[in-house]
């Protein structure tokens, strides 16, 4: 074989190797279903979609796909797009050209189309409105579902560019409730646990709520969330947050104010 032919064959082999290497993104058998999910979500074919990898949360595993600067998180169990972020829509996020009411209308219209259980959720007024983040100003809207007064893990969260009115972020979570939602602990029990845990804190107020959450190993649990606000010490907030198993009273997560 001539030297020229060897060089040519080597060159072709290297090119093939590079092509295969670059495109050897670990799609699994469900890839087409991911693509279909995203196409359904945005309402049109999205030819540039690329698989990015997996993300793990306590309540779901997600496949993440990108298209230009748009990020889609697809739940591995139900193949629904449960998270969408459009980073290009952060452009001009420091100008306020639309009102909160207009932004809410946009968010509601989006949620009605994309969230199958939007109607079961109520707007959380205290967690809604314009957030001044310096160079990123956004309207944030949060809807939560309550079951017999207990906060469920189901919510819809939408942030809107106050200049363009475009959707920057969407998260829509809908999980079936598979546990008994009767607490064995009373609110008084929870307050006593918190007082004992934060015994060195001069407590101002304690806020409690019953919620359905997840442990780090993915188990659904009825929990008491207890926030303790203490008087500042060394110029720092004292107290913190406890997540308490509503059945056993076990503290499953401890946090502090920073």
């Amino acid at each position: 074989m001539k030297e020229t032919q060897i060089i040519l064959i080597s060159f072709i082999c290297v090119c093939i190797g590079l092509f295969v290497g670059v495109n050897a993104i670990p799609f699994n058998d469900n890839h087409q279903r991911y693509v279909d999910s995203v196409n359904h979500f945005i309402g049109e074919p999205s030819p540039g979609l690329k698989f990015s990898g997996y993300e793990y949360t306590p309540h779901a595993t997600y496949s993440v796909l990108f298209n230009n600067n748009m990020e889609f998180w697809i739940n591995e169990d139900n193949f629904l797009v449960e998270r969408y972020s459009s980073y290009d829509e952060l452009k001009d996020c420091n100008k306020i050209l639309i009102s909160e009411k207009e932004a809410l209308n946009i968010a509601e219209s989006f949620a009605k189309i994309h969230d199958i259980r939007y109607d079961s959720k109520c707007l959380m007024v205290n967690e809604t409105g314009l957030i001044n983040g310096g160079d990123i100003i956004q309207y944030n809207f949060l809807w939560r579902e309550y079951i017999n007064g207990i906060e469920s893990p189901n919510f819809t969260y939408i942030s809107i560019n106050p200049s363009s009115g475009k959707i920057v972020n969407y998260i829509g979570i809908n999980r079936p409730i598979t546990i008994n939602i009767t607490s064995k602990l009373t609110e008084n029990d929870v307050v006593n646990i918190a007082k004992h845990h934060f015994k060195d804190v001069e407590i101002d107020t304690i806020e409690t709520k019953l919620k359905i959450g997840y442990t780090n190993n993915g188990a659904q649990k009825l929990l008491w969330e207890c926030k303790v606000y203490g008087k500042p010490k060394d110029y720092t907030l004292t107290g913190g947050i406890l997540l308490i198993d509503a059945e056993t009273g076990e503290i499953i997560q401890i946090g502090s104010w920073l």
Partner: protein, 250 residues
């Protein structure tokens, strides 16, 4: 001395007044990360994680747990990246403008001197003011304050994010509200991860990584736990990356 020499010397002095004196720029660029074992929270592992990601990005990343403010103050002028993972400050009910270092005693870096000094055990604490700097941190690429109220303005101590921005830091990220550990540190871990791998397994801009990390907290925990009050100043046109390792634009 001839007239020519006098004119030349005058010119050199005039240039010296308008051209800023830069701090030392090392190769690879320096980054410093500070976490603490406070009596009520241990933030050291988060600073360790941040330093690890910066090392992967090519920085000479230092992780200095339980440092006093004076160590950070001395390093700050030579840092391309500064990361603080710890307590913010609240004075007489008014939050913001300071971060609290802890090594058995408290010391502080404050935004602005507004005739107010913090005390530690009844004595004036060791504390430093960003407002006293001239141009030492104007070549910083990124400053991150993962602490309560670091982006909130206090009438006693100023605003850390705004003062950092005023002093020439290209990108500064803080929070204008109260944060809860460990959720805030999930934001931190995700932010540093996203800076490297956030966009299709490749790097993501600092602005997009910071915004994406807020969504990461929300989807993981069902609540942003204060991270939605992120308050940041980015260098226009908002497309800076953490890599390749470098100092900021003067």
């Amino acid at each position: 001395m001839s007239e020519t020499y006098i004119l030349l010397l005058t010119f050199i002095c005039a240039v010296g007044l308008v051209v800023p004196i830069s701090a030392t720029q090392y190769n690879p660029p320096w980054s410093h990360n500070y976490g603490f074992s406070y009596p009520d929270a241990d933030t050291r592992s988060y600073a360790t994680y941040a330093a690890g990601k910066q090392t992967s990005d090519g920085y000479n990343a230092f992780n200095l747990p339980n440092s006093g403010a004076y160590i950070s103050w001395n390093n700050l002028k030579d840092d391309a990246v500064f990361c603080f993972e710890g307590h913010g400050v609240i004075v007489d009910g008014e939050p913001g403008g300071s971060i609290r270092f802890y090594n058995g005693t408290n010391s502080f870096i404050n935004a602005e001197y507004l005739n107010y000094l913090l005390l530690d055990q009844g004595r004036i604490a060791n504390q430093y003011f960003l407002s006293s700097l001239s141009n030492e941190i104007q070549d910083s690429l990124l400053v991150v304050y993962v602490s309560c109220y670091s982006g909130k303005t206090s009438s006693k101590l100023g605003n850390l994010v705004e003062m950092s921005n005023t002093k020439g830091v290209d990108n500064t990220i803080g929070f204008s509200g109260a944060l809860l550990y460990p959720y805030a540190y999930y934001w931190s871990d995700r932010f540093w991860y996203r800076c490297l791998y956030g966009f299709f397994g490749s790097h993501q801009t600092i602005r997009n990584a910071a915004s994406g990390a807020v969504g990461d907290v929300m989807i993981a925990y069902g609540n942003p736990y204060g991270t939605q009050y992120m308050y940041a100043r980015y260098r226009s046109p908002y497309n800076d990356y953490l890599d390749p390792a470098r100092y900021g634009i003067i």
